[in-house]
């Protein structure tokens, strides 16, 4: 019976609720802009990873290699775009 209990999913659900609550604190507590953004960014990325792995089942099938390669490539492209844009329009303008 215990194998049938979706322990991982329940834990994941609780953890995602905690992350949401932490993110909400930014609104209710009086934080500096930097601190607030840091909390939001960290909780957002952890949340996204959690959803992908626990609820969208990345890594549970035989094509997990291509799934993680895809995600990794996407992250690289996004970072290049964001930091490239910052370089062009802010840091080196």
């Amino acid at each position: 019976m215990s194998e049938l209990f979706p322990r991982k999913q329940v834990m994941g659900f609780v953890f995602s609720m905690v992350l949401t609550a932490v993110a909400l604190l930014v609104y209710f507590l009086d934080m500096s802009f930097t601190a607030g953004m840091t909390v939001l960014l960290i909780t957002a990325f952890v949340q996204a990873g959690l959803q992908l792995v626990v609820f969208m089942h990345a890594g549970e099938t035989d094509d997990k290699g291509s799934i993680y390669t895809n995600i990794f490539y996407g992250v690289v492209i996004a970072l290049v775009t964001v930091f490239g844009t910052l370089l062009i329009l802010v840091w080196d303008m």
């Binding site: 775009t81 329009l89 080196d92």
Partner: protein, 648 residues
């Protein structure tokens, strides 16, 4: 009456009224023709509702050819206006509208669908699949593209064309400087077509990764399939940027947000930046499948296997990554510092390395090959020197310091036409001629085809080489006229002659289709070119299930092995074949998208909301629909096969 005033053209001319009449007459003629020949049912059953990748490919092809002539007509008008100094053929506003439309139509509604046409038709056949991974999504992709293209095309008779260039830079494209609905058309029509392209990307990525014939590992895929795989990776990563960018632009224009304004915290340069974050990978989305076509054609007609398969693959993968790292070279002069420009200069030059590897691989394939000059091969051989002219001038433009001299001149215009025409257009014409017998069961006339290739090849040089010189002399692009004292007159006249030559070439292509339909013999074999990959292993025309028995593959040239080395492609017995059902929903949903887009362009909120609900209803219908496809019985397969064997 007030309601209808918004649809008026802000800048009318007799030519536009004449086009209105022509469009109305054409539509009446199409409806009357379909009714007279009782073809409505046929059109609906066989084409509008089809999910067959081959038919969708052919519809993409027809749309691309139509748009080629539309964009070509624009080009002729532009070159005619510039042919002599102080010309009065077009005024400044019309010139702006025409060069804008020429750019959008040629890139997004001609080159893209042409590539996707070949992709659709060829890739499932090359990998030995029965269809793409998501056949109905494929139909939706096509119809969204088609409706987007049509929406943009009606702009010049309803409400006015976009006039801010195909790059549509803000603040020029903002409401302050572009008051007509033209730029709304730009934002929304491209959005609709772009969503279709994104879906194609997802579809083909899945198809190639998951549906290859047994034995076909990634490194045993034909080179065209490899190029399409890499292209679709780029589509999946680049097109979301365009989607978001156009959504932000739409919000700026319709709802007065300030993403790209010069006031209230907006940043107009962000548009140029994000446009090219998408726009540069888009260049490689266009050129990589073209490289794939050349690889197929050159190895087929040099009668040799492709030289350097692994380095071809590696260079394409490298290009796909580098294509995301160079976008700043489109706006070196925008004002960012020397450090940024240097970084992007270096990445830009780096991309010439894998491209050079490919060029040398083709040359080495030709070396010691038994070259047979057919029309597709002629285009490929013309491509190598002409594309190199475009490529080398690209390296010149890539030097950021020197770019201050070339930027925004005809030199740039000459460069990208010398890349795109020999690169993409020649490849598409080569691919069209090469795969035509597989599509339609007869060949295009070789004599007319070769004449056409030579005329187009020479005219390309005549039309675009003078622009390099007038550009270095300082002729700015997008300038609708110039005075005689500038001395640009003779060079522009030569360009115009070249443009007329190109027009002659494209008319000859249409004539060739007509001539071949009438006179070309129909008793050709399924493999008329003596080719190497799987698409030639099935009958022509291809039965709807592609292969009666799924082929077994052992190398990247499985069909060549079967012909020369006794490899057994089709093992086993006929089995019943599972195929997807046709559906009218993609077509209807795209029609609703058209209404949605049109309503948004003119800020008509009630029909826009109604159309949004309609779109969501179509999606809900799909979610709850139970459709398990259908089976083709063994008897039916046997019957079709014996009939086609007799014919082919």
């Amino acid at each position: 009456m007030e309601f209808f005033e918004r649809f008026a053209i802000p800048h009318p001319s007799p030519a536009i009224y004449a086009s209105m009449v022509a469009i109305a007459l054409t539509m009446v003629a199409i409806v009357a023709g379909l009714t007279y020949f009782k073809k409505w049912g046929y059109l609906w059953r066989e084409w509008l509702t089809t999910v067959d990748h081959k038919r969708i490919g052919i519809m993409y092809l027809i749309s691309a050819l139509l748009m080629l002539f539309r964009g070509g007509a624009d080009a002729i008008m532009l070159r005619a206006q510039l042919a002599v100094p102080e010309n009065k053929l077009l005024d400044a506003q019309h010139y702006n509208e025409i060069f804008t439309t020429h750019g959008i139509v040629m890139i997004l509604f001609m080159a893209m669908p042409f590539i996707i046409a070949l992709m659709n038709f060829v890739v499932p056949l090359q990998i030995g699949a029965r269809d793409v991974a998501f056949p109905r999504l494929n139909a939706l992709s096509f119809w969204l593209f088609f409706m987007g293209a049509m929406l943009l095309n009606i702009s010049f008779v309803v409400g006015g064309s976009p006039d801010a260039g195909w790059t549509s830079y803000f603040p020029l494209a903002g409401t302050e400087f572009s008051e007509s609905v033209g730029s709304n058309y730009y934002m929304i029509a491209i959005q609709i077509a772009g969503i279709g392209t994104l879906m194609t990307g997802v579809n083909f990525l899945t198809t190639i990764l998951r549906m290859r014939a047994p034995g076909m590992t990634l490194m045993k895929m034909p080179m065209f399939t490899w190029s399409v795989l890499v292209t679709n990776v780029i589509i999946v990563f680049a097109f979301p940027v365009l989607t978001v960018l156009l959504a932000m632009g739409t919000f700026d224009r319709l709802f007065a947000t300030h993403f790209f304004t010069t006031t209230n915290g907006g940043m107009d340069m962000l548009w140029a930046n994000l446009f090219w974050v998408w726009g540069h990978p888009e260049v490689y989305i266009l050129i990589l499948p073209a490289f794939g076509v050349y690889s197929e054609v050159i190895s087929t007609f040099a009668r040799r296997n492709l030289y350097g398969y692994k380095s071809m693959v590696a260079s394409m993968v490298l290009i796909s990554l580098l294509s995301f790292l160079v976008w700043t070279h489109h706006f070196f002069t925008m004002g960012q510092g020397a450090l940024t420009n240097s970084i992007f200069s270096i990445t830009t030059m780096a991309i010439a390395v894998p491209t050079g590897v490919k060029i040398f691989n083709w040359l080495l394939t030709l070396w010691k090959g038994k070259i047979e000059i057919t029309t597709p091969m002629l285009y490929s051989l013309l491509f190598i020197p002409l594309f190199t002219i475009g490529g080398v001038t690209g390296v010149m433009l890539g030097m950021s310091a020197a770019d201050y001299q070339y930027h925004n001149t005809m030199f740039l215009v000459a460069h990208f036409h010398m890349v795109i025409i020999p690169g993409v257009v020649f490849a598409m014409l080569a691919g069209l001629t090469y795969w035509w017998p597989k599509m339609f069961g007869f060949m295009l006339n070789e004599r007319i085809g070769k004449w056409t290739a030579w005329i187009i090849g020479i005219s390309t040089l005549v039309a675009f080489m003078p622009m390099f010189f007038s550009g270095l002399d300082g002729q700015a692009r997008r300038m609708y006229t110039y005075s005689e004292s500038t001395g640009y007159g003779p060079l522009n006249m030569i360009s115009f002659i070249g443009a007329v030559g190109l027009a002659v070439g494209f008319v000859l292509i249409a004539y060739n289709v007509y001539y071949s339909v009438r006179y070309s013999p129909r008793n050709i074999s399924a493999d008329p070119w003596d080719a190497r990959s799987l698409e030639w292993a099935t009958h022509s025309p291809v039965p709807e299930y592609n292969f009666a028995i799924v082929p077994q593959v052992d190398s990247s040239e499985a069909f060549w092995d079967a012909k020369k080395k006794g490899h057994e492609l089709f093992k086993g017995e006929y089995e019943k074949i599972h195929m997807p059902n046709n559906s009218g929903v993609p077509f209807l949903m795209s029609c609703i998208f058209f209404v949605w887009g049109f309503s948004l362009v003119f800020s008509m909120w009630i029909p826009a909301i109604a159309a949004t609900i309609g779109i969501l209803a179509c999606m809900a219908h799909r979610s709850f629909e139970k459709d398990h496809g259908r089976y083709i019985s063994v008897e039916e397969v046997e019957e079709t096969e014996s009939k086609l064997r007799g014919a082919s």
